[in-house]
Structure formats: structure tokens, C-alpha cells
Amino acid sequence: MIEFMFALAIGMLFGIGVFQLLRRDLIKAAIGFAILFSAINLFFVAVSAFDGEYAPFVSNVEAGRQTSDPLIQALILTAIVVSFGSFSLVLGLVNIISLRYGTVDSNAVNNLKH
């Protein structure tokens, strides 16, 4: 049941992110971009951590408790920071476009070669 709910939420968030990217408003597109990252991170945690009942600490391991999978958590940790870096790059792009073109309407932005 919970798997189904997770999948549904991931799918919906992903769809929302894609929709934002498709629209012409660049600021919302940037937000949509970040929502995509969130959906992916959510997917990773959903895939990894179901059977864990305790945080992955050595004391929990030594007490013989079932901990969650630490490797995928380290992966998500890395993913969050890197996606943050690329997101700020997107923000910078939107920012510079808005300043140079005087609009955040993607249809009005042309000739990015220059």
C-alpha cells in the first residue's frame, strides 16, 4: 500500500515538475526543475529504506537492530548537494536572462548564442 502511495506521489511530483518546465515562465520552470530533483530523491529513499527500523548508527548495529540502508542515504546526501549546485546555476541563468531581456517569458528569449 505504502509503495503504491509513494509511487503515486513520485509520479505526480515529476509530472508537476515537467509541466512547470514546459510553461513559458522561466522562474516557475526553475522551481519545476527543483521539484524534479525532489521527486528523484524521494524515489531513492522510497526504494532503499523500507525495512530499516533504526537509523544506521554503530550503536544500533551493535544492539542487533535492523537499520536502514546507509549506502543509499550517502548517495542521496551527495545528490542533494550536487542538485543544489546545479539548481543555483539554473537560478543564475534565469537571473541573467531576466536582466538582459527584461522578461522571464521563455518565448521572448532568442539568440542565446550571443
Binding site: 509513494f6 515537467v18 509541466f19 522551481i31 537509523a55 546526501l77 543555483s88 546555476l89 531576466s98
Partner: protein, 965 residues
């Protein structure tokens, strides 16, 4: 060992020369260093000759890719030694010459750096014992030669075109070469190791032991491919046209690369492979045909040239053709003539090039028609030219004479039906070469100039290089028996004799005939030049081809619509098609129902479901609300909801990072919104929402695409979740081994220890992203802001003069006494929290990342509340770029330090135990080890990166709007 040194020295020196203190040395000192280095290498190679005479071949190496049985090998025999001597010997003189050729010290420094890199690559080509290594070096010579041909590319479009042409032709040839070498290696593997499957033999010593290679069924394939590589590199017809184009290089480079070394790489390759290839007639015939054609065409074109360097370039093409043809002579009978030709040509042609460069330097022109009468002004150069040009023509007792005699002798003894034809081609070409040589002496130096030439005397030491080279042509001709013969004996597999004068035999009379015919043609040269022409040049074919490539590129570009939806549909379509066609979906889902059969939920599950609903609802809100600020806040809610889910899923570290980063992202969006004017933003809001009824189609289309993608992701996740593995197979290992690094938090141990290299790369990526933001936003600024140079520090005082920024609304409405005091209080607290997270990162959630982000949040609060300038003034110690540098440096040193202790890259070092302080430190719950140092480095880097991003986004600036252009 000495060969490793010889190959590494040029590269190391090139690296050292681009940084102080060597960079700041005078031109004279740099010349002395580079010349001495090359001369030292020459002597080193020379000293190995006695050892080679005993052992014949020196092979050694180290592991490179042991799993593929590929080593970083050196394979040194007579052939390699001859080439290495040319590269280092001519190299030393060229470096000496370059010191006086360039007037500008910075230009000189840039030039010799590239030239050194080239020399190293060329040495690697000839000394390498592994075809893959040879190939890498081969490509390096192309790249460095590109930099040298296009050396004046900033000013001259001709130099750019020449450089591109050379890179294009030799690069295309290299593609054929690598394919050919791989096929050859596999063929050798089949012969040498028939019992193994596919085995790629890259070792040259093994390849040369493959006796039956010439019988292999793939022989024609790899032969043609390897020939393509070598013929393009050695400027053989019809690929010869790049070499005259390469004359836009500074003359020392032309002398070195395009006469003595790089163009001989192809020849080296042919000679290297000759022992296993020559037994197949295809190899010999192709080499003969291409070589002879090139020899004749090059020599005819040479005398048509009006540019002195053009003449030399085409005569080089001709000589290279002769050498290729010699290597192609059946039964390896031409090898002696080929090697002798290589040595003679290197000596006289580089001397002539250096003379040409000096003339150009002194008179400002290289046009033969405008030059003349230089024998009075440049007597030494005149003498050098006489010796070198006559060596080129083949006048008795010069080295060139011996070389040509040997060549004619080899041709005469080539007993095939076509001998007469071949001999005729060689004779004709030699006559034209003699004409070119006479023209060099007479037209350039002796005949009176038509008009007055502006002349200034070049510095005297510039003569030294060409003098030594021409002395070489003179003396080695006489000393051919004691000096050249022992060297050639190392490289030529047969018994042979060489004499400076072999007597009045057939060959001698042929020689005399050539020289006399040359004089006759020389007298008739003016009408002759007029009738020489060739309807189709390789150059025009090349230009046509480039035009087609451009045309194809333009057309491919048309397929790029620039609309995101277009790309998404293609990506989604491809992924779906692949998934469905490969049948992956059906095998994964087999036997399992995708839909839940068990509808029971626990309390915890309910909490998760609530958070999921919250996230999705907030997601819908980001679409539905009109104002961007509200959308940003709704987005923050998504992030927090997911953070809470992380927490419930027993991932406290992830949850902490997620919450912090989410806050940071939301803050950044809001700072950015403040930077974009309201009218700019409302323009798009009104456009998209008020006039919505007119855009129903677009809205429906986008909605449709996103629903399809959302559904696809939903199905994919559902399949993945229903079929997920219990847990990752190496999770148990990490759980067990975490105590060995004195850490309580397993995730922290993975980040800082077990997978530390990932983290190291990740902070580099993060920094790169931050620099990207900075670069984007720094465009259009004038000398201020985060990118400002350090010496602008003084001007910064002016920058903070309030008057200057009167018109700029910098501080925000948020700047109230309350928010100001809050931000003041929050920063030290954040620093404390950050330090605690670093120090106790091992024993609980939180680590370098979270510390960096916490700190970044506190600083961004200052920027939000106080505005850029006020924050910058109040936090003078906040130097993000410095933090980033320090962080990356510490991380790198921390990763390298264990190497000294033999623990491997990023090994775990316990400093507290090493210093005997373990118990004391541990009583505070601390462990001073490399993880801690790494966490500090991570924190500094993340802090610095965030600072750079915040400063770049918060910087109030005036970017000029795009003009009408």
C-alpha cells in the same frame, strides 16, 4: 631509466616555465635553460649508443592498465635512437634560435612552452614501446603543433586556418590509425595467442615478433588504415596540402616540426612496422606509389612557390615522399637510404628554415621575387645557405650527396619491371630539387634586389643554430664512415657499406647528370614556372569538404527547435520504446501484481502518506498560484515534507541536509526574485494567465505531455518499488566496518571515508557550479563585485561610498532594527552549530555539508536583511573565494597525505593516535583523524561555494539589456 627521464623532462620543464619563478626569468635565461635541457637529453641519448650496440634493444616499462596487459613501456632500438637524436639535437639548436627570434619575452615564453610540450610528445612517439602510448603521443604532437601553427592566431586568420587544416587532416588520419592499430593488435593476438579469445596486443616488442602477420586475412584492412594515419601525418600526396598551410607557424616551429620532427612521425611509424609488414607486397606497393607521387609533385610545386617558406615546405613534402618510397622498397632494401635521408634532411632543411626565418626577421618579407643581394648584408647566412642548399641538391662530399647516392643506388638495384619508370621519377624529382636549391642560393642571396629592401641586422647569436646545422651537413658528409655508419648499423637489419665517395660508378654519373640538368632547368626557370599547374589541388578538395561539413551542420541544427517539450517527447519516446522493445518491463513485472493487495496501513505509514499528500498538494500549488513568491514558498513546503519523510525513514543525516538545503534554495529563489524587477515578472504572469483562454491549445498540450510523463514515472517507480532488492549488497560491509574509523554514524563514515573520493569530486562539482553562477552573473560588470581583481581592494572603499549607490535600492524592506539584531545574533550561533557538527560529525547526524550550509544560511540572512553592500562591509572577513580555495587545498592534501605513509589515496590516518593524544582527545568525545580534516575541508568548500553564489546573486548590478543587434 634514462629514457623515462628524457621523455619526462620536456613536459616538466614546460609546466615549470608557465609558473613563477621560471616564468619571470629573462628571455636569455629561459633560452639557456631550454637549450641546455635539450642538449643534455641529446647527450643522454648519445651515451646509450654503446649499450645499444651490445644489447640492440632496450625494453622496460611499468604497469599502466594491467587488466588489459597494457604497460607504459619504452622500446628503444636503433630506429628510436636515430629519431630521438634528431628530436633532441635539432631541438637544442631551435630553442637557441627561438631565444633570438622573438622580441617579446611573454611571447617567447608561451612559444617555448608549447615547443617543449611538442618535443616531449615527439620523443614519446619514438621511444614508446606500446602502440596505444604511441598513439596518445601521436595525438599530442597534433595538438601541440596546432597551438604552434596557430601561434599568431589572435591576429592572423591565415594562422588559424593553417592550424585548423593541419589538425583536421592529421586528426582524421589519426582516427584511421587507431582503428588500424587495434585491428593489427587483435590480429597479432590471434597469431601469438591462438588459444585465447580476443586479445589485443599493444606491446611493440610482441608485435614485431609476429612472424606471420603478413599472411593474416585482415592485412589489407589494417595496412590501409595505418597507411592513412602515416601518410596524412607525413604530408604525403594527396594529403600534402596541410604542410604549406602550416608555414604560418613561427619559423622555429616550422624548422623543427615541419621539417625535422613531426612530419617524420609517419615515416617513423612505417619504419617501425616495416619488419613485420614488408613481406606483403601490398604494403610495399602502396608506399612506393604514394611516396614517388609525392616526391615528384612536391619537387615540381616547390619551384613554383614565391614564398621562401612555401618553397621549403614543398621541397620537404618531396623529400618525405622519397623516404616513404625508400621504406616501401621490397625486401627492406631501401631502409639504409631512408635513414640516411632522414638525417641529412633534418640537418639541411632545418638550417634552411632558420635562415628563412632570419631573412624574414631582417627584411620583413619572405617573397623570393622581392629578395636579393643579401650576400653582402648576411654573409654568414649566405654561407650556411650554400652548404645546406647544396647538400639538398646533392653536391659531392656533403651529407646530402651521400644520401642521394645511396637512394639512387637502392633504386638501381630494385629489380622489377617498372624500374625504369621509378628511376625516371626519382631523376626528374631530383632535377627539380636541384633547381630549388640553386634558386635558394642565387635568387635570394646573389642576384641584385629589384628594389631597395629595408634591412636591419638580427642579433648575432641567432646564427649559431644554423651554423652548427650546416657544419653538420658538411662534416658528417666527410665523416660518414666513423659517425653515421655505426648509428645506421643499429637500425638497418642488413650488412652494408657507406662511403663519402664510392668512385666513378653508374650512380656517380647519374648524380652528375641530375646536377647538370638542374643547371639547365634553372636557367629556364622563369618560363617553366609559368607552365606548371595542376587542375585539382588537395587544398580545394579540403575546402569543398569543409563547406559540406558546415552545410550538414547547418541542416542538423534545423532539427533543434529549442522547445523543451520537443526534447522531452523525444527522450520519453526513446526510453519507452527501448524499455518496451527490450522486454525489460515484462520480465521485471512477471508474476507480481502492481497494485496493492494488502490495504492495511500502520500509524507510521499514515504519517508518511500525510507528508506525501502535503508534498503533492504543495506541488500543485506551485503551479496554481500566480505570484512567484508564493510558488517559492509552496516549493519550500514540498522540500520540508520530503525532509520529514527522510526522518521517518530513519535517515536523519539526509533529513538534516534536505531541510537545510531546502531552506537555502527557497532563500536563494527569494533573493533572486528581489533582483528581478516586478514589471519583468508581472509581464509574464499576466501574459500567461490573463490571456489564458487564447492559449488553450498550448496549455492542453503541455498538460498532456506532463501527465503522460508523470504516469510513466509512476509506473516505473511502482515497478521498482514492488520489485526492489532487500538492501544494497554492500550495505552490510559498511555497517560492519564503520567502527574501524572511530565513527558512530555509518552514513558519515561512508561520506568521509569509504567513498571519500566521491565526496572529493562532489565538492569540486559544487565549486564548479558556484563558479558557473559567478561567471554568469559577473558578465557585464565593470571591475567590481566578487570577480573583481585583488588590486581593486583599494577601490572597494569608493565602492562602499553610499552616494555612489544612491539610486540603487540595495537594502530591502526587511531591514528593520529587529531583523538586523536577529541576523547579528544568528551568525555566531550558526558558526557554533557548524563547528559542533564538524567536530561531532562522527557521532551523530550532521557533518561538513550541514555545517557549511548552516553557515551559508546565516550569511545569506545578512545579505537578505542588510543588502549586498552593507553585508559586505559588516563581514569583511567573509571571503568565499578564499574559503573555497582553502577547502579544496586541504581536501586534496588530506587525500594525498596518506600516500606518504603508504596507505593509499584517501587512506585513514589517526593523527591523535600518532601524536599520543588519543585518550585526552577521546575524553572530549573527539577523534582527530583524516575524516575530521576532510569534514573541515568540506565545510570550508561548501561555505565558500554558497558564499560565492549568494554574493553573485545578491550583487546589485546593472547589466546592459540586449541591444537591437
Amino acid at each position: 631509466m634514462e629514457f623515462t627521464l628524457v621523455t619526462a623532462t620536456p613536459f616538466l620543464l614546460a609546466l615549470l616555465l608557465v609558473i613563477p619563478p621560471l616564468k619571470d626569468l629573462s628571455k636569455f635565461a629561459q633560452t639557456a635553460i631550454s637549450t641546455a635541457a635539450m642538449a643534455g637529453m641529446f647527450v643522454t641519448v648519445l651515451l646509450t649508443v654503446p649499450r645499444l650496440q651490445d644489447e640492440h634493444i632496450i625494453v622496460y616499462g611499468i604497469d599502466w592498465i594491467p587488466s588489459l596487459d597494457i604497460g607504459l613501456n619504452f622500446y628503444v632500438d636503433g630506429l628510436a635512437t636515430i629519431f630521438a637524436l634528431i628530436v633532441t639535437g635539432v631541438g637544442a639548436l631551435v630553442f637557441l634560435y627561438a631565444g633570438y627570434y622573438f622580441d617579446d619575452a611573454a611571447e617567447h615564453n608561451r612559444f617555448i612552452t608549447w615547443l617543449l610540450a611538442f618535443a616531449g610528445s615527439m620523443l614519446l612517439v619514438v621511444l614508446s614501446g606500446n602502440v596505444l602510448l604511441t598513439f596518445v603521443a601521436w595525438e599530442l604532437t597534433s595538438v601541440t603543433s596546432f597551438m604552434l601553427i596557430g601561434f599568431t592566431g589572435e591576429k592572423s586568420s591565415e594562422a588559424r586556418a593553417g592550424a585548423f587544416k593541419a589538425l583536421f587532416v592529421t586528426g582524421a588520419g589519426a582516427l584511421a590509425l587507431i582503428i588500424g592499430l587495434v585491428i593489427l593488435g587483435v590480429a597479432c593476438g590471434q597469431i601469438l595467442y591462438p588459444e585465447e579469445g580476443i586479445r589485443f596486443v599493444a606491446d611493440i616488442s610482441e608485435i614485431l615478433q609476429t612472424e606471420d602477420l603478413h599472411k593474416h586475412e585482415w592485412f589489407p584492412i589494417f595496412t590501409v588504415l595505418i597507411l592513412l594515419g602515416g601518410l596524412t601525418k607525413s604530408a604525403q600526396f594527396p594529403f600534402h596540402f596541410w604542410l604549406p598551410g602550416a608555414m604560418s607557424a613561427p619559423t622555429p616551429a616550422s624548422a623543427y616540426l615541419h621539417s625535422a620532427t613531426m612530419v617524420k612521425a609517419g615515416i617513423f611509424l612505417f619504419a617501425r612496422l616495416s619488419p613485420v609488414m614488408y613481406k606483403n607486397a601490398l604494403w610495399s606497393e602502396l608506399l612506393l606509389v604514394f611516396g614517388l607521387a609525392t616526391m615528384l609533385i612536391g619537387s615540381i610545386f616547390a619551384i613554383k612557390q614565391r614564398d621562401l617558406k612555401g618553397l621549403l615546405a614543398y621541397s620537404t613534402v618531396s623529400k618525405l615522399g622519397a623516404i616513404v618510397a625508400m621504406i616501401g622498397l621490397p625486401g627492406q632494401n631501401g631502409l639504409k637510404a631512408a635513414f640516411l635521408g632522414i638525417i641529412a634532411h633534418a640537418l639541411y632543411k632545418s638550417a634552411l628554415f632558420l635562415v628563412a626565418g632570419t631573412i624574414d626577421h631582417a627584411t620583413g618579407t619572405r617573397m623570393i621575387d622581392r629578395l636579393g643581394g643579401l650576400h653582402r648584408q648576411m654573409p654568414v647566412m649566405f654561407l650556411i645557405t650554400i652548404i645546406s642548399a647544396l647538400s639538398m641538391a646533392g653536391i659531392p662530399f656533403l651529407l646530402g650527396f651521400v644520401a642521394k647516392e645511396t637512394l639512387l643506388d637502392a633504386m638501381l638495384h630494385y629489380s622489377e619491371p617498372q624500374t625504369a619508370l621509378i628511376l625516371g621519377v626519382v631523376m626528374a624529382s631530383s632535377v627539380f630539387t636541384a633547381v630549388a636549391a640553386y634558386m635558394l642560393v642565387y635568387d635570394v642571396f646573389w642576384k641584385p634586389a629589384r628594389q631597395e629592401i629595408h634591412f636591419h641586422q638580427p642579433p648575432s647569436p641567432i646564427r649559431l643554430g644554423p651554423v652548427i646545422l650546416s657544419l653538420g651537413s658538411l662534416l658528417l658528409g666527410v665523416l660518414v664512415e666513423p659517425v653515421i655508419v655505426p648509428l645506421l648499423e643499429l637500425a638497418v637489419p642488413k650488412e652494408f657499406e657507406l662511403h663519402v665517395f664510392a668512385g666513378f660508378n653508374d650512380v656517380f654519373w647519374l648524380s652528375v647528370g641530375i646536377l647538370t640538368a638542374g643547371i639547365a632547368l634553372f636557367i629556364l626557370r622563369k618560363p617553366l614556372i609559368k607552365i606548371i599547374g595542376f587542375p585539382l589541388s588537395g587544398d580545394s578538395v579540403y575546402r569543398e569538404m569543409i563547406a559540406y561539413i558546415d552545410w550538414a551542420g547547418e541542416n542538423i541544427l534545423h532539427s533543434q527547435s529549442g522547445y523543451v517539450r520537443y526534447y522531452l517527447v523525444i527522450i520519453l519516446g526513446t526510453v519507452s520504446a527501448v524499455l518496451i522493445a527490450s522486454g525489460t518491463l515484462t520480465t521485471v513485472t512477471a508474476g507480481k501484481s502492481l497494485f496493492p493487495s494488502d490495504l492495511s496501513v500502520t500509524i507510521i505509514d499514515l504519517a508518511k502518506i500525510f507528508m506525501l499528500i502535503l508534498a503533492v498538494a504543495a506541488g500543485i500549488l506551485t503551479v496554481a498560484v500566480r505570484e512567484h513568491v508564493k510558488a517559492a514558498i509552496a516549493f519550500g513546503v514540498i522540500g520540508y515534507a520530503i525532509g520529514v519523510i527522510f526522518l521517518i525513514e530513519h535517515a536523519p543525516d539526509v533529513a538534516l541536509v534536505q531541510l537545510l538545503v531546502e531552506t537555502m534554495v527557497t532563500v536563494l529563489i527569494i533573493i533572486m526574485l528581489g533582483r528581478i524587477s516586478t514589471s519583468t515578472r508581472y509581464h509574464v504572469i499576466n501574459n500567461l494567465w490573463v490571456g489564458r483562454h487564447q492559449r488553450n491549445f498550448g496549455l492542453l498540450r503541455d498538460l498532456g505531455i506532463s501527465i503522460v510523463i508523470g504516469l510513466a514515472v509512476f509506473v516505473f517507480s511502482l515497478i521498482a518499488l514492488q520489485n526492489r532488492a532487500e538492501r544494497s549488497s554492500i550495505a552490510a560491509w559498511h555497517l560492519e566496518n564503520t567502527p574501524t574509523v572511530n565513527t558512530e554514524d555509518v552514513v558519515g563514515a561512508i561520506v568521509a571515508n569509504f567513498r571519500g573520493t566521491d565526496t572529493l569530486l562532489e565538492i569540486v562539482v559544487f565549486t564548479t557550479a558556484a563558479l558557473g553562477v559567478l561567471t554568469l552573473l559577473a558578465r557585464g560588470r565593470k571591475g567590481s563585485g566578487p570577480l573583481a581583481p585583488r588590486n581593486a581592494d583599494v577601490e572597494r572603499l569608493h565602492e562602499f561610498d553610499v552616494d555612489v549607490f544612491e539610486g540603487v535600492q540595495d537594502a530591502t524592506d526587511l531591514s528593520t532594527p529587529f531583523t538586523r539584531s536577529v541576523s547579528t545574533v544568528v551568525l555566531p550561533i550558526a558558526i557554533l552549530i557548524g563547528i559542533a557538527q564538524i567536530l561531532y560529525g562522527g557521532s551523530g547526524p550532521g557533518d561538513g555539508f550541514t555545517a557549511g550550509v548552516t553557515f551559508g544560511l546565516a550569511v545569506s540572512l545578512w545579505y537578505v536583511v542588510l543588502g549586498y553592500h552593507e553585508a559586505k562591509r559588516q563581514l569583511p572577513w567573509f571571503r568565499p573565494a578564499l574559503f573555497t580555495r582553502l577547502g579544496l587545498l586541504i581536501a586534496l592534501l588530506n587525500a594525498l597525505f596518506p600516500l606518504l605513509l603508504g596507505k593509499g589515496f584517501m587512506g585513514h590516518v589517526e593523527f591523535d593516535k600518532a601524536l599520543g593524544l588519543y585518550d585526552i582527545v577521546a575524553s572530549f568525545g573527539l577523534h582527530v583523524n583524516s575524516s575530521l580534516v576532510f569534514e573541515v575541508a568540506i565545510a570550508l568548500t561548501v561555505m565558500g561555494g554558497l558564499g560565492i553564489i549568494i554574493e553573485a546573486i545578491a550583487f546589485p548590478k546593472e547589466v546592459e539589456p540586449l541591444g537591437e543587434d
